[in-house]
């Protein structure tokens, strides 16, 4: 499209109301559970009470006899195909280690059986009548336990595939290096090393996982599901159940949040099989407890970072070693591990010597999966605190140290090529980077100069400020694909059909804005239909911060093709050279000022002359993944009497390229920040010595409420990414990576302690304040 004058944009760059907003704010039936199917069977799933066991015997006769029960599934009557639940591009870089129902159960809550009955209450009652005899196996309840010689093997099955070394419970192993790391450290003047540990956390979308399946009037299986990955869901269900893919339709309606938890095929297989066997609709909805225990979680990790720098603070050697707990199944185990390095290390590209190595381990614990940030969150914790320590050791301002080290436009990093999504990555040169401006604006807004090193006191509270910088990516280069179809209607409106998955992020809206901008119409004339595998073209789905950049480019391309067609028709109508025509304000205008409206153009093409459907499909496979950048600043207050940390003010200055819809871009960052603060301060899944989650409720798993949030300022720095649609990059994930290191660094400024284990509970802080070694 060239480099347009963005000041001329009519809809891109405007905080337009969401196209689906009206229905959401009036509570129209838009979510999976809102539209009933007559004759529905309600499905409940029996979860294992044991962390590791073999099912010796399962007796479902009591359940079968229970009134209202229509179908029961166990390992004895379901396909034994191994697959991955991970919603990733095929062939998935996750092991095929899951079965619909297995003989072996591998975590408390793992599937044992499913009952479909006339009512939820009947299904729950019937579930209680299933008698299971278990042979208990020794559970592995930590990474250290998984690594021990002679540790029980969690996936010994012969038919699993893609596990790095099942005999040692290693799902994935990554080891890459650039230069010579040992020599790099020898040549460094200052060395800083830190090890940080992050906890089990859950996405806690307010809508739990849910699916409604039925056979349509042509006997095709329809799955209406709360998913981030409709096309992957279709493929994986077809594969797992051994049914033809073309007999399945997956529809994603409005969904109530995902954050990565729904980048997974978690319930669709069960619902589908119940429907296929009974020929009746099936409804599966996880309870909040099941959502915590038996859906997906963040990967707990222990990550060590060692930095070697020259006296002037320029990094010369960086080593990152990550140990990840992927839980009972390996979905996303390799890719999250790899992203821990691939989304962090390129940021500091001055270091000629870099090593990233790590393993992802199986444990008999809740299954970790995709979660916003996807490893980068865990990696930035030690990286950005080590850099902060380095600044202290050398005696320069942390901001200045970032300035001396961060990547800039025109530069590259060897890490881009070495480390991709579980395999080699793709080399790229940064084409847009406004991180310097982000740092400058953010520092000013937080009042860095006035607040840093001051240790202001107010009663028992001591104040401090800290900062961090980061990058993420925009889609998975050469792997992700998104496509869009646009067709025109005779009133000058368009249908935009996109596979891209709106989880509430507003992708329907921003993609419509892109198309509307190209085609010169107001947003209301762009009618969006998304995420229906029968109707919309393919899209990998909402993950890897790909939608704006990848799907957006597909939309832009499709819109350009359609614009060409419109101009061709208009040129015949106006008898002018198409190259001389301009499109805008719902009309095509000739240099003379004569014009035809878009409605007239379409009417011409639909009814009058040389009729054809004005429309086009276009795809995008990105060749690079231009990173958004973020500078985070926080002012915290630490209560030295209780250890409580209060975030007073949080500033995030972002370079996401063109913000297609500034309010939605801000909203992504604001939401990610608050989630990140919870991850930093209050959220923790507590696991018993038997591997059971002790706090699977909002009562005891504390996410932030409206009274907990600090003053939040999101600053969108003007930036333009030439490879992105209208200059856009991505913004969905990066915000969540900031709070942990930023708060940790601010706490250090306030009270001089280094926190290295999340969450930073008051107890941990107090222990660190009193010099207790275990506290930090």
């Amino acid at each position: 499209m060239g480099d347009p004058d963005r000041a001329m944009f009519r809809t891109v760059g405007k905080s337009e109301r969401k196209v689906d907003g009206y229905g959401l704010v009036t509570g129209r039936p838009k979510f999976v559970a809102d539209i009933e199917q007559p004759g529905t069977l309600y499905v409940k799933i029996l979860g294992s009470p044991h962390a590791h066991a073999r099912i010796r015997r399962i007796d479902t006769s009591g359940a079968e006899r229970f009134p209202g029960v229509a179908c029961i599934l166990t390992h004895e009557n379901t396909p034994s195909t191994r697959y991955t639940t991970a919603g990733q591009g095929y062939p998935e870089p996750s092991p095929y280690d899951a079965r619909m129902f297995d003989r072996i159960v591998r975590f408390v809550g793992d599937r044992v059986a499913a009952v479909a009955a006339e009512s939820e209450a009947a299904a729950a009652e019937a579930l209680r009548r299933i008698v299971v005899e278990y042979d208990l196996l020794e559970p592995v309840l930590s990474i250290d336990a998984a690594r021990r010689d002679g540790a029980p093997i969690i996936h010994p099955e012969e038919d699993a595939a893609g596990i790095y070394d099942a005999s040692r419970n290693i799902v994935a192993d990554v080891d890459i290096d650039v230069g010579d790391i040992e020599r790099g450290f020898e040549e460094s003047d200052v060395i800083v090393e830190t090890t940080c540990e992050t906890q089990y956390a859950q996405h806690a979308p307010i809508e739990p996982h849910v699916v409604w399946s039925w056979l349509d009037e042509d006997d095709r299986l329809v799955l209406r599901t709360s998913t981030q990955v409709p096309f992957h869901a279709r493929r994986i269900v077809a594969q797992t159940l051994g049914i033809p893919l073309h007999r399945i339709r997956v529809i994603k309606p409005r969904i109530g949040g995902g954050f990565g938890a729904k980048q997974e095929v978690l319930l669709e297989d069960v619902a589908a099989l119940v429907t296929l066997r009974t020929r009746r609709p099936a409804f599966v909805l996880l309870t909040r407890q099941e959502e915590f225990v038996a859906s997906r979680t963040r990967h707990p990790m222990r990550v060590r970072v060692k930095l070697g720098a020259k006296r002037d603070g320029v990094l010369h050697a960086i080593e990152m070693e990550a140990r990840s707990n992927t839980g009972a199944y390996g979905a996303h185990g390799l890719t999250v591990l790899a992203n821990t390095g691939s989304k962090t290390l390129p940021l500091y590209n001055k270091a000629a010597n870099v090593r990233f190595h790590g393993q992802a381990y199986y444990t008999n614990l809740p299954v970790a999966g995709a979660y916003r940030g996807y490893g980068a969150t865990q990696g930035y914790f030690p990286l950005e605190t080590a850099i902060d320590e380095l600044a202290g050791r050398i005696g320069i301002d942390p901001i200045e140290l970032r300035r001396r080290n961060h990547i800039r436009a025109g530069e590259t990093s060897p890490i881009f090529e070495k480390l991709g999504e579980g395999r080699e990555g793709v080399s790229q040169t940064i084409k847009s980077c406004e991180l310097s401006r982000c740092i400058e604006w953010g520092a000013e807004r937080i009042g860095w100069a006035e607040r840093r090193g001051v240790h202001r006191r107010r009663g028992s509270w001591v104040y401090g400020v800290g900062m961090s910088v980061m990058m993420q990516g925009s889609g998975i280069p050469q792997v992700d694909m998104g496509a869009a179809t646009i067709k025109m209607n005779e009133d000058g409106s368009f249908n935009l059909l996109i596979g891209a998955t709106d989880l509430g992020t507003g992708s329907d809206t921003i993609l419509a804005q892109i198309a509307a901008e190209v085609l010169g119409v107001p947003l209301a004339k762009m009618v969006v239909l998304s995420s229906d595998t029968d109707v919309t073209p393919f899209d990998v789905g909402a993950y890897a911060s790909s939608t704006t950049y990848v799907s957006g480019t597909a939309v832009e391309r499709a819109a350009c093709k359609v614009r060409e067609q419109i101009l061709t028709v208009a040129s015949a109508m106006l008898e002018e050279d198409p190259a001389a025509l301009r499109i805008g304000d719902e009309a095509v205008v000739a240099p003379s000022g004569r014009q035809v409206t878009l409605a007239q153009v379409c009417e011409q093409a639909m009814y009058r002359s040389d009729q054809f459907q004005i429309g086009a499909t276009a795809s995008c496979v990105p060749s690079e993944s231009p990173p958004p950048f973020l500078a985070n600043f926080a002012e915290v207050a630490v209560d030295t009497e209780t250890g409580r940390i209060r975030v007073v003010h949080y500033v995030a200055a972002a370079d996401c390229g063109t913000a297609i819809n500034p309010a939605l871009a801000e909203g992504q960052i604001e939401g990610a920040i608050v989630n990140g603060i919870g991850y930093a301060l209050t959220e923790e899944m507590l696991i018993s010595s038997q591997g059971r989650v002790r706090n699977p409720t909002f009562f005891d798993y504390k996410i932030l409420c409206a009274r907990d949030i600090p003053r939040i300022d999101v600053l969108l720095v003007d930036s333009y990414e030439p490879t992105g649609p209208m200059g856009a990059k991505s913004v969905g994930e990066i915000g969540i990576n900031g709070p942990i290191p930023t708060i940790a660094n601010a706490v250090h400024d306030a009270v001089g302690i280094r926190l290295r284990t999340t969450p930073f509970t008051p107890e941990r802080v107090l222990a660190a304040l009193s010099g207790d070694a275990t506290g930090g």
Binding site: R288, A663, I703
Partner: protein
């Protein structure tokens, strides 16, 4: 089973409920799908409705307890096509992301503003403290409610 009568969104309705049934489940099975279930334990607020003018977690109200009461769900907040100022403000401020918490939050906001037409930011935060949101971070929702309050007070620049 027992017979109860409720006025729901302005319409008087009589029906049968089990003694232990909760208002949330009754409303949803009657088709009021704007009332959302997020936890079933009073922790998330997605199920909030007005019960005789007060915002409550419908998942914790015995339906039988509500006999004779007036219920307003999100569908009763707007009047025909005209949105309530809170709803308008939510749309204008970008305070709706996935929208799952939105009905409950709008209900809580309407209750708050009926009692505190000129709330401070602190009072707004407190007013929606029982409505968990995982998408927005609350900032735009608080701004939307303050903006709606201004509009409702008839200030010109709301």
């Amino acid at each position: 089973m027992m017979a109860i009568t409720l006025v729901i969104d302005g319409v008087r309705r009589s029906f049968e409920v089990a003694p232990s049934e909760k208002l949330l489940d009754v409303l949803r099975r009657l088709g009021y799908t704007g009332v959302k279930k997020g936890c079933g334990s009073g922790d998330c607020g997605a199920c909030a409705v007005l019960l005789d003018g007060r915002a409550v977690n419908s998942c914790l109200v015995f339906a039988a307890k509500a006999d004779g009461c007036e219920i307003v769900t999100i569908e009763g907040i707007s009047h025909g096509e005209a949105l309530h100022p809170v709803q308008e403000a939510f749309l204008d401020e970008g305070a709706v992301q996935c929208g799952y918490c939105t009905p409950g939050m709008v209900i809580a906001a309407v209750d708050l503003l009926s009692r505190h037409p000129d709330p401070t930011e602190e009072e707004v935060r407190e007013g929606i403290s029982g409505n968990l949101c995982r998408c927005t971070g609350y900032k735009k929702q608080v701004r939307a409610i303050l903006r709606a309050a201004t509009r409702m007070r008839g200030d010109r620049d709301g």
